[in-house]
């Protein structure tokens, strides 16, 4: 198995797919249907290949596996790929969400289908690349490259204010990331390499750490996003097409969380420890403030977008406790949020396709017309607020547990976020699903189609499975997390 460059295959199958797509004509309904099928099969194929990773993954090995290392630009900067327990789940999350996204856009994308699918395939390449790359320049390449297709996805197929939103998204994240580029170059010059494995055991002086940490932090802070730099996210989410929101919430935000675990605390433990209270404060503020903002939203997508910021607050809280529990909690929270918030955006997409509005007040009483939809929506809402038995609970619980061991005050404030999450989520659910049908056009709403069922079933299964039996997930994550924590402890001593 180790002979096959399976990660490269995963990364470049979508690129091959793009070539296929370019060959298919795009002039009538039939051919655009063909395009969609082709893209779906390509991404499905990728998903199955990524599942094979799970089977050949060595659970007891905390190091990087499936490693590929080729000379690329010059000595020090190489094409170096590999995954460990931290990144493997993100790769699978990505390959799972992309076919779902393509399936979800079967009906809603009416024009320029070819460009749309090409953008998605390109985006998949970049996203998988981010989680697999073990070289900082390669990482940056994938991290930033993802902006191009996302810019087009929001800008071409988005809502009314799409141009404003997509520019904001692009320039915000670009401005954040360029300082990371400078930091990467500095690392390259002072250590002579950008190889992650080498750098993980390299000791930066504490002054270097502070500066470099800040540079990496600006990039990840904007991307994850943390309060007060989260304002691009609601705009981008609201204007993006459903599938765009799904990918944005499901994977793009996780790239920053992954970056925090791999680079910020891995390379710069001293600085991370120094800045941890700062991160905790920002996270707690984010959890409380954005939860309160979510409470007053009148747009469904905006509400879920703000709740994403709050959930990401838990992730950063967990990561910067430097405990095994905390980091595990952060990762599980990210995976769970990747499934749940993606599903929530899909839920919004379902009713948006029927009524073409996201205004909460326009809805009400859907339960009588759409029972299956109401059921799925309920599962995801409950998972989002962290009900025990759903995936949302596991992550939040581990994070809160670890933060209590570090600092009680932050823990207390963070816990109020859980209450607030329950408030805005349940209120949203009540306003949309329950009550009497007042609006006439709502009585013509029909329940989930078969295509939509196919989309929701795996997500529901995963949400409940992870909630009830998180052991397999933890088994995958634990060895690598322990290794990271030990490394930090060693460097700190």
């Amino acid at each position: 198995m180790s002979e096959i460059p399976i990660l490269s295959i995963l990364i470049f199958i979508p690129v091959v797919g793009i070539f296929f797509m370019l060959l298919i004509r795009n002039n009538d309904d039939q051919s655009s249907q063909n395009l969609k099928h082709t893209a779906l099969w390509i991404t499905f194929l990728n998903f199955f290949i990524s599942l094979s990773l799970l089977f050949s993954f060595d659970l007891n090995n905390p190091d990087f596996q499936f490693v590929e290392n080729y000379a690329w630009i010059e000595s020090g900067i190489s094409y170096h790929l590999g995954i460990d327990g931290v990144s493997i789940l993100f790769v699978i999350l990505t390959t799972m969400l992309v076919p779902i996204c393509i399936l979800a856009s079967y009906e809603s994308i009416k024009f320029s289908v070819k460009e749309y699918l090409i953008s998605f395939l390109a985006l998949e390449t970049f996203m998988i690349g981010v989680f697999c790359s073990l070289d900082l320049v390669l990482f940056y390449l994938f991290f930033e490259g993802g902006l191009i297709p996302m810019f087009l996805i929001i800008g071409i197929w988005g809502g009314e204010r799409r141009v404003y939103s997509t520019f904001k998204f692009f320039l915000y994240t670009l401005a954040g990331s360029v300082f990371m580029l400078l930091a990467i170059i500095y690392i390259f010059i002072s250590t002579g390499t950008t190889d992650v494995e080498t750098l993980l055991v390299y000791n930066f002086t504490s002054n270097e750490q502070l500066i470099l940490w800040i540079a990496f932090f600006t990039s990840f802070m904007v991307k994850i996003p943390m309060w007060p730099f989260h304002t691009w996210l609601p705009d981008a989410h609201v204007e993006a097409p459903t599938a765009g929101s799904v990918i944005l919430a499901g994977v793009l935000l996780k790239m920053a969380g992954y970056g925090f675990i791999r680079f910020s605390i891995g390379f710069f433990p001293d600085a991370s420890e120094f800045f941890a209270p700062f991160i905790f404060s920002l996270s707690v503020i984010a959890i409380i403030v954005t939860s309160l903002i979510a409470l007053v939203q009148e747009d469904m997508k905006k509400l879920i977008a703000y709740s994403s910021v709050a959930h990401m607050g838990f992730v950063t809280l967990g990561i910067f406790t430097f405990t095994v529990q905390g980091i595990e909690g952060g990762i599980i929270q990210m995976i769970s949020h990747g499934i749940v918030s993606a599903a929530l955006f899909l839920c919004v997409g379902v009713v948006y396709d029927r009524l073409h509005t996201r205004e909460i007040a326009r809805y009400g009483g859907l339960v009588s017309k759409m029972p299956f939809y109401s059921f799925s929506f309920m599962i995801f809402i409950l998972a989002s607020l962290g009900l025990p038995g759903t995936s949302g609970f596991v992550g939040e619980f581990l994070v809160l547990l670890s933060i209590f061991t570090v600092n009680t005050y932050f823990a207390i404030f963070a816990t109020t976020g859980v209450v607030l999450a329950a408030t805005y989520s349940l209120w949203l659910y009540r306003r949309i699903i329950f009550g009497a049908i007042i609006k006439d056009d709502l009585s013509e709403m029909f329940d989930l189609t078969r295509r939509e069922m196919i989309i929701f079933v795996p997500l529901i299964v995963l949400t409940i499975f992870i909630g009830l039996y998180p052991k397999p997930i933890i088994n995958i994550i634990e060895p690598s997390t322990e290794k990271i924590v030990n490394q930090i402890k060693m460097k700190l001593d």
Binding site: L22, N26, W72, I73, E74, S112, K114, E115, V137, Y140, L141, F142, E144, G145, L147, I148, F151, L152, G155, I156, R162, V163, F167, F170, L171, L174, A175, V178, F179, L181, L182, I185, Y186, F188, I189
Partner: protein, 469 residues
């Protein structure tokens, strides 16, 4: 006589140009003359490759690795603009057979520039290049804009040549030599007169590379000149002047680099920042490209300011990528034709992805590349520039550079926005652009797949700089 071998490519081109000039009088077949010019430029490339590395004419003319690489780049730029010319001459109303000949003359001037190792050789090359360019800018006699561009360029260019000559006289006066190497030997670091000389020469050269604050002519000339000529302005002369700048500063004033470094430092920052902000308000694509080239020159100058191997290497990588990107952009500009008229406004691109999906996709990627977004080639150009800047501890330059690149991303994105997000307009003609596709597709694909195998460009740059430091 021995010396003549070292300037064989230049002599060859000169003979070709003269013969073509006379033939053109009788033949009036512009296409043939153009094809012959392209052919002889290709022959020149072979001649350049076969030249022995030597210095000639009492060391005032050097043939080395550096000049070889730059000359090839210049000739490639000239060939590209000749191809652009032949595909657009009828519609632009520039059916003038002198065009290819003037391009060749200017190319000779540029080849002399990059080989010049003496203040006089430098001035001769520069003037031959500039005088041909003045005429080229005003080539479209029926167009008011073109004549205005020519006059403007001529007056400002003459002024800058005057400044340059003034600086040269100071340097000669205070060092007693005109040869770069002899100046370096006899340099007196304390001499104020020498510094004044350097400042004036740099002002003249900054004009030629259109760096701020000597950039004022660029937008007007870019807009006014016929597009193939604008393309030529953006491609070859910038590279030649940059090569000259490097040789002048590195060979003769390496010892007092502290003094000139701050000048380059300033014009680099000023170019990057001014271009980033000024380009935002532009509505004309050629004007926008003018500001874009000012900005790119600002980045390239970071490589000069570093005064290290790394800096020089990054400069050459940057120039090569810049050359290829600009070939694509200008080939693209010439394909914007509807009902026999050319369009130059950004708003004319509106929604063109509906009618020309592939062409739009490629140019959109080129725009991202110009903005320096990975994984496209433009990113690697900037990457190496920043590596060089940080290595020589010029963090400030690197920080300004990244900030300017974020700001300039805005105006490149605006073009993508207009092409993709806005309502579509009429289709563009696709008939006359077949020869342009020859430029457009290969160069844009080179930019896109550059990241897979970047080593050739890096190796070429390393090969070129070994003769300078």
């Amino acid at each position: 006589m021995q010396n003549l071998i070292y300037i064989l490519p230049e002599i060859f081109l000169f003979i070709v140009a003269t013969v073509l000039l006379i033939t053109g009088l009788f033949l009036k077949n512009i296409k043939l003359i153009n094809s012959l010019s392209i052919f002889s430029l290709l022959v020149t490339v072979i001649l350049i490759f076969n030249q022995p590395f030597q210095s000639a004419f009492l060391n005032s003319f050097v043939v080395d690795e550096f000049s070889l690489v730059l000359k090839v780049m210049i000739v490639v730029g000239s060939i590209a603009s000749l191809i652009m010319f032949v595909s657009s001459k009828d519609d632009l109303n520039i059916n003038i057979y002198e065009f290819p000949i003037l391009i060749i003359f200017s190319t000779i001037g540029m080849m002399v520039m990059v080989s010049a190792n003496d203040l006089l050789a430098m001035f001769i090359g520069l003037e031959l290049q500039s005088l041909s360019l003045y005429v080229l800018a005003a080539l479209n006699r029926n167009s008011l804009l073109s004549s205005e561009a020519g006059i403007k360029y001529f007056i400002l260019g003459a002024l800058s040549s005057g400044l340059l000559l003034f600086g040269i006289s100071y340097i000669y006066g205070f060092s007693g030599n005109t040869n770069f190497n002899l100046i370096a030997v006899n340099i007196n670091p304390e001499s104020l007169g020498l510094i004044i000389g350097i400042v004036f020469v740099l002002a003249g050269l900054a004009f030629k590379v259109s760096a701020v604050p000597f950039h004022m002519w660029t937008p007007d000339v870019y807009q006014g000149a016929p597009t193939p000529i604008t393309g030529f302005f953006a491609l070859a002369p910038k590279i030649a002047a940059m090569g000259l700048l490097v040789r002048f500063l590195f060979n003769s004033f390496g010892e007092i680099y502290i003094d000139w470094q701050q000048i380059i430092f300033f014009i680099s920052i000023a170019s990057m920042m001014l271009a980033a902000f000024a380009a935002i308000a532009q509505t004309n694509l050629k004007r926008l490209m003018a500001y874009s080239s000012i900005g790119h020159i600002g980045y390239a100058l970071i490589g000069v300011a570093c005064f290290t191997d790394e800096g020089l290497r990054s400069l050459l990588i940057y120039l090569m990528i810049y050359l290829i990107m600009n070939i694509t952009v200008f080939a693209f500009l010439l394909s914007l034709k509807r009902n026999d008229g050319y369009f130059e406004n950004i708003s004319d691109l509106s929604g063109m992805h509906k009618n020309h999906p592939l062409r739009t996709m490629l140019i959109a990627l080129i725009m991202f590349s110009l903005a320096g977004i990975p994984p496209l080639a433009g990113f690697f150009g900037k990457f190496y520039i920043f590596v060089a800047a940080i290595e020589s501890e010029m963090l400030f330059l690197a920080v300004i550079g990244v900030i300017a690149s974020v700001i300039s991303a805005f105006y490149y994105l605006r073009i993508v926005k207009v092409m993709y997000f806005d309502e579509p307009k009429e289709e563009f003609d696709g008939s006359s652009i077949r020869s342009l596709n020859l430029l457009y597709y290969p160069s844009s694909i080179l930019i896109i797949i550059f990241f897979i195998y970047p080593s050739p460009v890096i190796n070429i740059s390393e090969y070129a700089i070994q003769s300078i430091i």
